[in-house]
Amino acid sequence: MKWQIQGFAIKGIVQGVGFRPFVFNLAKQCDCSGDVCNNGLGVEIRLCGQQKNIDLFIQRLQSELPRLARINQIQSLPENQLDIESFSEVIESVKNNQPAIFAIRATPQKIANSAENNQKISTLISPDASLCDDCRSELLDPKNPRYRYPFINCTHCGPRYTIIADLPYDRPFTTMAGFELCKSCQQEYSDPQDRRFHAQPNACNTCGPQLSLLNNQGQPIDGDPIEQTLERLRQGEILAIKGLGGFHLVCDANNADAVAKLRARKHRPAKPFAVMAANTASLERWVTINPSTADLLKSAQAPIVLCQKQSQIELQINGVADGLNQLGVMLPYTPIHWLLFHQAAGQPATEAWLNQPQDLLLVMTSANPSGEPLVIDNREAINRLSNIADYFLLHDRDILIRNDDPLLIAGTEQQPSIMIRRGRGYAPAPVFLPKLLNKNNDLNILATGSYLKNSICYSQGEMAHFSQHIGDLNCVGNIEFQKEIYRHLSQAYQMQPDIVIADSHPESPAVRFAQQISQQLNIPLLQVQHHHAHIAAVMAEYQLAQPVIGLALDGLGFGGQSLDISQVADNKSLLGGELLLVNADGCQHLGGLQPLALPGGDAAAKAPWRMAASVLFSTGNSQQIKSRFKDFAAAAFTETMLQKQLNCPKTSSMGRLFDACASLLNICQVNSFEAEAASKLEAAAAKDASQSNSAAASEQPTSLARITSSSSQPFVLDLLPIFNVLIQSSIPPISISRQNQLAYWFHQQLIEALARWVISASKKTGIKDICLSGGCFLNQILAQGLQQKLQQLGFNVYLPICHPVNDGSISLGQLYAARMHLNKVQPQQHKVSGDK
C-alpha cells in the first residue's frame, strides 16, 4: 500500500474549541495515522496514510468543523519542518500495516520557543457560546444525570471569555477554579473522545454551581428557583436574571403593565426592548423570520436580531418597541433560559415542543442603570438593581468580564445580516489583518476607539483582538471598563503595545487613556481622525489597501490631525457628513456637507426641532420657527440664538439633518433615545405606499442638491435646496400618508445627491472603489439605496457587514489606518515588547 507523510499548520480559532479531539476522531474515521498539537499560532497536524485518505481528511476537516472553530488558513508544511524523528513510531506502524494510530501531543518546547512564534500566543480566548443541541437534549432528558442542571456545557458551548482570568485556558484560571470536578466530570474532562474533553467549565449537580432565587431584600425564596422564577414572571414581576456576560432585567412581554412598570423603574420611556421566545415558531407571530435569520438566531453567537414586525403587533405587545418597524428578538442561549421555557411548556419529556409555538415571550434587557456598565456581580446586582427588580435569579459561577448581547439587523434574500453591536459570542474573537511588508508587522498596536460606543482593538502582529461594545465614555464605569479590557487582554496574551492610537477628539477619556499609556510605556501616540477611522474600518473588513473614496455619514466626529500627515478640517470642527480619499498613507478631505448651525450644541442632538429651526433659519424661513414649534418654550429663543450665533457651533453632521427632516415632517420632535427621530423617519419612509408603485419608484428624481467648492474643500454638498422643497411641502397640519411620502422622497433625494457627490469626486480622482460608513448607514433605505445606485453606475461599493457601521468600529479603523501607514514608513526605533 502506498502511503504519504504530510504536515499542516492551521491558523484560526482552533484552540479551546474541541478542535484536537475533533481532529483525533476525524483522523480515525479517515483511516489516517498521525498526531496533532497546539502551536504558537494554531494547530499543527501530521498525517501518515494513503493520499486519498489524507485528502478526504482535509476536506472533511473544513466542512465538519466543530461549532466554535474557525479556520483562517491551512498551510502545508515542508518535510524538513515535520521533525520526522519524533514521528518514527507512527511511520513504523503504517509501514507495518497496523491499524491507524493517532495521538494528541503536548505542545513541543521547540515550537513554543521558536523564532517563528515570537508572539507567544499559546491559546486564543474564545467567545462564549450558546447551549449546543447535544447539551440541550441532555438538559431536557429526564433520564440524563444532568437533567435540568442549569450549568451544563461542553467543548462546543458554554462560557469562555467571560470567565477567563488568564491563559492558558485551564480551569484554575477561570471562575470555575473553586469548583472541584467530581469523579465522573473528571472522567469526561480527561477523555479525548468525550464531548467534554478539556471543557473547563464542565460541571454537574454534584460538583458545580447552583442557582438561587432571592427577593430584593436579599432573602432566599424557597422552592425550585426555575419554577418560582417563572411563576413570578407570570404574575407580572420584574426579575434580574444572571446570564453569561451580565444580568438581564426580565419581564413578561405579553403583560403590558409589567412592561410599563419596567420602563418606569428603569427610567426608559420609549427605547425599544428586545424579546426572547422559545423558538422561531413562537417568534413568527410577531416578526418575519427568513431561513438565514433563523440560522443566525440559533447560532453559537445567539444574537439579538432586529426583524421586520408583522403588522398589528403593537396592539398585542404594548410598550415593547412602539412606533418602530423592527423588533429585536432572540432565542434562549443559556441552560437557564431553556429551563424557563421548558417550565413554561409544562416540563415536557419529549422534544416536540421545541418546534411548536410557545406562548411565553420575555422582555430581556441588559441590566445597566442608565448607560453604565452591565451589572455582573451578585452583590452589586442586589445593591444597584433592587429598585428595579423584584427578585433575583442568581448563581455562584462568577462573571469576570462583562459582555453585552450582540445586536444585528436581519438580512434578506439579497442581503446578509448586519452587525450593529459587537458583544457576547463575537468578542474577543480576533480579526485577521493583512501582513505588513516590513518589520512593523511585529509591532503591537492598541487603538483606543471613539468617545461614544467605545470599543478597543489591540493587535499582535496580524491578529487584532477586537473588544466587545464598551459603551459611551461619559461615565466612570465605562472608562474603567475600557481599561479593564486592556489589562485583561495584556495579561492573558502577555503583550504590551508598541504604538497607541487615539481619536482627534479634544476632550475624550479615550484620548486621555491613550496619552497615559503612551507616557507610561514611552511609546508613540498616533491620532486618527474619526471619519478617516470610519472608512478604514470598512477597508479592514474587506482587506482593501488601494486608494478608496470614503463617504462617512454620522452624527458627530471632530476634525483634526490624522496620522501626522493628513489633516481633516480644523481641530474643533464638528463633522458628520464627509467625503474622504483614503489611501495607504492617510487621507485627504475632499469635502463635507454645507455646515449649519447647531443651536445649543448637544441640546440640538436631543431636540430635532432645534435642528429644524436651524434649517428654517438658513433657508430664510425664520418666521416659521415660532409657529411650527409653538409647543416648545425655547423656540422663540432659539431664533435669537441663531441670529446672534450664540452657542451655535457649525456642523456638517448628516445625522442632524435626518433629525431636521423628521422634525419638519412632524414625525419626531424630541429624541428620547439615540436616533429615535432618524429611526422613525426611516420607518415612515418604509411605509410609504408609493414605494411599491413601480412607476413612481423607477422614476429618477431630479436632484436638487448643489455641489460647490470652498478654499479648503473641493466638493461641498449643499442639501438645503432639498429642505427648501420639504419646508414648503410640509406646512402643518400634515397627514400621515403625506409624512410617509415626503420621508420616502427625502431618502430618494438624498441618495441621488450623495451619488452625484461621489461621482464628482470619482471623476477628479479616477477612483471607483467606494467605502460607505458611519451610523447613518444603519438606515437601510439609505444604505441599500445608495449601494444599488452606485453599483448601477459601475462603482465597487463596500458596506460593512461583519463589524458595526457606527462608532463601534472606530477602534478597528484606527488600527487599520495605522497599519496601512506603517506598511509604508520605515520601522522606527521602538521598544519592542519582546525585551520586557
Binding site: 466612570v476 477619556p509 458627530l556 466626529g557 450644541g601 432659539t638
Partner: protein, 342 residues
Amino acid sequence: LIHGGGGRAMEQLIDQLFKAEFIKAGVAGNDGTGEGPSHDATLVTPPPGQLAVSTDSHVITPLFFPGGNIGSLAVHGTVNDLAMGGAKPLWLSAGFILEEGFPLKELQTIVRSMAAAAKEAEVKIITGDTKVVEKGKGDGVYINTCGIGHVINQSKIGPQYIQPGDKILISGFLGDHGVAVMSQRENLGFESEILSDSQSLNGLVAEMLEAVPQVHCLRDPTRGGLANTLNELVQSARCDVLLQEATIPLRPAVNGACEFLGLDPLYVANEGKLIAICSAEDADKLLQVMHNHPKGESAAIIGEFVAEKSGDNFQGYLEMETPYGGKRLLDWLNGEQLPRIC
C-alpha cells in the same frame, strides 16, 4: 476722559474722585483718620500671626450687569480669594486702567459700587493707581485689586486636607452670575431677570470657621463653575467626587435659561458662592451655620469625596448621580462646552 498731554493731571483728578468716594464710604485708609488711598507707599501695622495675600485682575464685558458691575466684582473677587484661604480680609489696593473717552459718570458709578462693596466687606482700600490708555486699546475699564488678610487661628485649609468621606457643601444657587452676564451682554431678556450673585463671602466664612474651625477646604467656584472647580480639587486631593444631582441648588430661571442655551449650569461662573469641604461629622453643623447666615440660606450638602477608582494610575473622577440612579461624568473642560453627542 482724555489721554495724552494733560493725562497726568487727569489721573490726579480721578484719584481725587476715588479718594472722595472711598472716604465718603469710610473705606479709605487703614487707621480711620480719613486719609485717602495714596499713590505712595501706605504704612500698615500687621496684626500678630500669618498674613494672606491675593491679587486678581478684572476684565468683564459688559461692565454693568444685573446685580453688580466691574467695581463691586473687583472687590468681591479678591475679598473672596482671601476668605477662601481662611483669612479675614483687611486691606485692598486698586489699580485702574481706563480707556480714553470712558464717561466719567459711569466711572463714578463703578467707584461708588466699589466703595459700597468694600464697606460691606469691612475692608479698607489703602492704595491705588490709575492709567489711561488710548481709545480702542482697552474695554472701558480694567481693575486690578490686591488684598491682604489676616489668617484666622492658623487654620489648616486647603485641598491637601481633604479625605475620602468628606462632605461637599455649596453656599447657594449656582450659575446666577454667568447667566446674568451673558443675558446682559447678548441682550437676551429672560422673562424673570436673573441677578448676578456677586457678593463678598468673608462674613459667612468667619462664622463658618468659628463654628467649625477644622473645615478642610474652601473654594469659590468662579470661572469654569462648580464642575471645573471640583475637578481641580479632585486632582489636588487625589480622591474622586460623587455628587447628588437632586441636591444641587439651581434657580428654575437659571436652569431654564441654561436649557434654552444648551449650557450646563454646573460649568457656569459664580461670583458669590463658596464650596466648603469638611468631615462627615461636621457637615450638619456647618450647614446649620450657613443656613443661619443670609449669604448661605440656600446652602446644601451636594455630595462627597470618595476613594479614587482609577487604581495605580490616578485619574480623578468627578461623577454625578442622577435622580434615577444613573451616573454621569462631569469631565474637566478646557474651553467652551463642546458638543459630544453623536
